[in-house]
């Protein structure tokens, strides 16, 4: 087995030991392949943080306005006291009661993540269904598509008052904001994905005797899935941007609410601290979706039905 190291994974002809080394090989290749990227990511962050620290060191960056990373990241408890305040600052509750600083930060992050996911899920399901309906039934297209096209370029910020009129304050308007920011563009994206399905895939299905339903489930849906995941990934950033705006209006607690509070209380360190959190979480989301995407694009051949993975 030790001699297989230089062989390519496909070169092995023997059956039994073929899988184990190739899988190990691929795992190591993946890890080694990711190392340079990780290195450059760290270097990139260190580079810009370094410039910032240097500007602070020579006195150009005023720590009251632009506190460098070692200051706003240095005292976690100091920053954490502003998280999850809605519950701890309620009248009658001891200010020191409630979750620990770490828990407070995590609770706040989770609240925002759940809003993003709820909006994203609703928008994805609804836009997929509407996009399909538009492509499958001409009357729906004629009736609905012009309005969708009209509303697609409207900035989500314009929907903010509508969200408040409709849902008041709380989670609902925030989720609505995420939803409305993604919904219209995702409908259009779904339609263009369906239109770009290779005609011959559909023809193959028809020749083989597929029903309309089978053509949709077995041909069109798997064909558009990779494209939809790309759209989803791009819209994920959109969802993160808009959820902060929505949270600034009045939710119990959330990252957007923390930033708004930091603005109102003139606390730039808290702003930068929250920005770092948002950046890290957004990247983790993107990374996760990309991993899902990679699995879908390189479809595992040993699947039971072609419908898995969605």
């Amino acid at each position: 087995m030790g001699t297989t190291a230089t062989a390519s994974p496909r070169a092995g002809r023997t059956n039994a030991p073929k899988h184990a080394p190739s899988r190990m090989f691929r795992l190591w290749a993946a890890i080694l392949g990711a190392l340079p990227k990780l290195f450059w990511t760290c270097l990139s962050i260190a580079f810009f943080a370094g410039i910032w620290e240097f500007l602070w060191y020579i006195g150009w960056a005023d720590p009251r306005l632009l506190p460098p990373p070692h200051i706003f990241l240095g005292n976690f408890a100091e920053q954490a006291q502003f998280f999850n305040t809605a519950e701890r600052w309620t009248i009658g509750v001891d200010a020191s009661a409630g979750p620990s600083p770490t828990m407070a930060v995590l609770l706040t992050i989770m609240a925002t993540i759940l809003r993003v996911l709820a909006g994203l899920l609703l928008a994805t399901v609804a836009s997929l269904m509407l996009g399909i309906a538009i492509r499958y039934w001409a009357p729906v297209e004629k009736l609905v598509l012009p309005t969708v096209t009209l509303l697609a370029p409207v900035s989500p910020v314009a929907w903010l008052p509508v969200a408040i009129f409709l849902f008041g304050i709380g989670n609902k308007p925030a989720v609505f904001m995420v939803f409305v920011a993604l919904f219209f563009t995702m409908v259009l994206a779904t339609i263009s994905q369906i239109d770009s399905v290779n005609r011959n895939y559909i023809n193959v299905g028809r020749i083989m005797g597929a029903t309309r339903r089978q053509i949709f489930l077995r041909v069109i849906l798997p064909a558009i899935l990779p494209g939809l995941l790309v759209v989803l990934r791009l819209n994920l950033f959109g969802a993160w941007m808009v959820v902060l705006i929505a949270e600034a209006t009045g939710v119990g607690y959330g990252l957007g609410q923390v930033i708004m509070m930091a603005r109102n209380t003139f606390n730039p360190g808290l702003v930068f601290f929250t920005i770092v959190i948002i950046g890290v979480i957004g990247s983790v989301f993107d990374f996760t979706l990309r991993a899902v995407q990679a699995r879908v694009l390189y479809w595992v051949p040993k699947g039971q039905a072609s419908m898995g993975g969605g």
Partner: protein
């Protein structure tokens, strides 16, 4: 529509097709096409590009509706696609999210055939196509020629009585193309299906066909049907084959010239 020519595998009666009929962009692709293909016969459709020969295949496959005339397959009017009339495209059109064996038995899976039975069918069909090794591979791991063989295997898994082929080897290099022609003839002999094969290569028509139907430029009509009475396996360098090539070249040249002139007129008009 009667049971007119039950002896024909495919029977085209005065078939006409106009795309976008009734609109200002209407253009006539086929006019008055009469053609009969006997069971087990190999017919090549030869003509300049854009002459509507592919359109005829789509009409026979039932993927498009004809504007006039009638098409019968084994005595039944064609009014939609069916697995017994399988169409093979210029690109293999394998579903990229399915493995080779799943692609081959895609049609069976639509009709609820069990996985075990499907694997069995796939094993047999792939063995005949010389692709047993590719059973579990994904389409993107195969070469162009292998992909096209899988697409033929996929059609064979449905046991078609008519195999419609729309320039299936046009995208392949010369060596692969020659191999694929041999493979196709093997499949044809083994299954006894009728084959209608669209090409614009005279050599390919001479190498493969029992009869060659030469099409005119647009709108496509059948200009001549030439019998190819050459023994198989064929030697395309034999004098008889050369004579036939010359004859077909002559028939085709006028049409290519006309198609060319028409295209030039179109471009200058725009």
């Amino acid at each position: 529509m009667g049971i007119a020519m039950t002896s024909s595998a495919v029977s085209c009666r005065d078939v006409g097709k106009t795309w976008a009929a009734g609109s200002p962009r209407a253009h006539e692709a086929l006019r008055g096409v009469d053609l009969d293909v006997a069971p087990g016969e190999f017919v090549c459709l030869l003509g300049p590009s854009g002459c509507g020969k592919s359109t005829l295949l789509y009409l026979i496959a039932g993927l498009e509706k004809l504007t006039s005339g009638a098409i019968l397959a084994h005595g039944q009017t064609v009014n939609g696609p069916a697995p017994e009339r399988s169409l093979i495209f210029q690109e293999a059109a394998l579903l990229p999210w399915l493995s080779v064996w799943q692609n081959v038995t895609f049609g069976l899976s639509l009709h609820g055939v069990s996985t075990e039975e499907r694997r069995q069918v796939a094993r047999e069909v792939l063995a005949r196509a010389g692709l047993s090794e590719a059973f579990d591979k994904r389409p993107d791991e195969l070469s162009g020629g292998m992909r096209q063989r899988v697409s033929v295997a996929r059609a064979m898994a449905m046991r078609p009585r008519v195999l419609l082929m729309d320039e299936p080897f046009a995208a392949l290099d010369v060596q692969t193309r020659a191999k694929m022609q041999g493979f196709l003839l093997d499949v044809w002999h083994a299954t006894g299906a009728s084959v209608m094969f669209v090409t614009h290569h005279i050599d390919e028509a001479v190498a493969l066909a029992d009869r060659v139907a030469v099409f005119t430029a647009r709108p496509g009509r059948i200009k001549a049907v030439i019998d190819v009475d050459l023994p198989r396996p064929r030697d395309v360098e034999a004098p008889e084959a050369m004579a036939l090539r010359r004859e077909l070249t002559g028939l085709l040249r006028d049409e290519v010239d006309r198609a060319f002139a028409e295209q030039e007129a179109l471009t200058s008009a725009n």
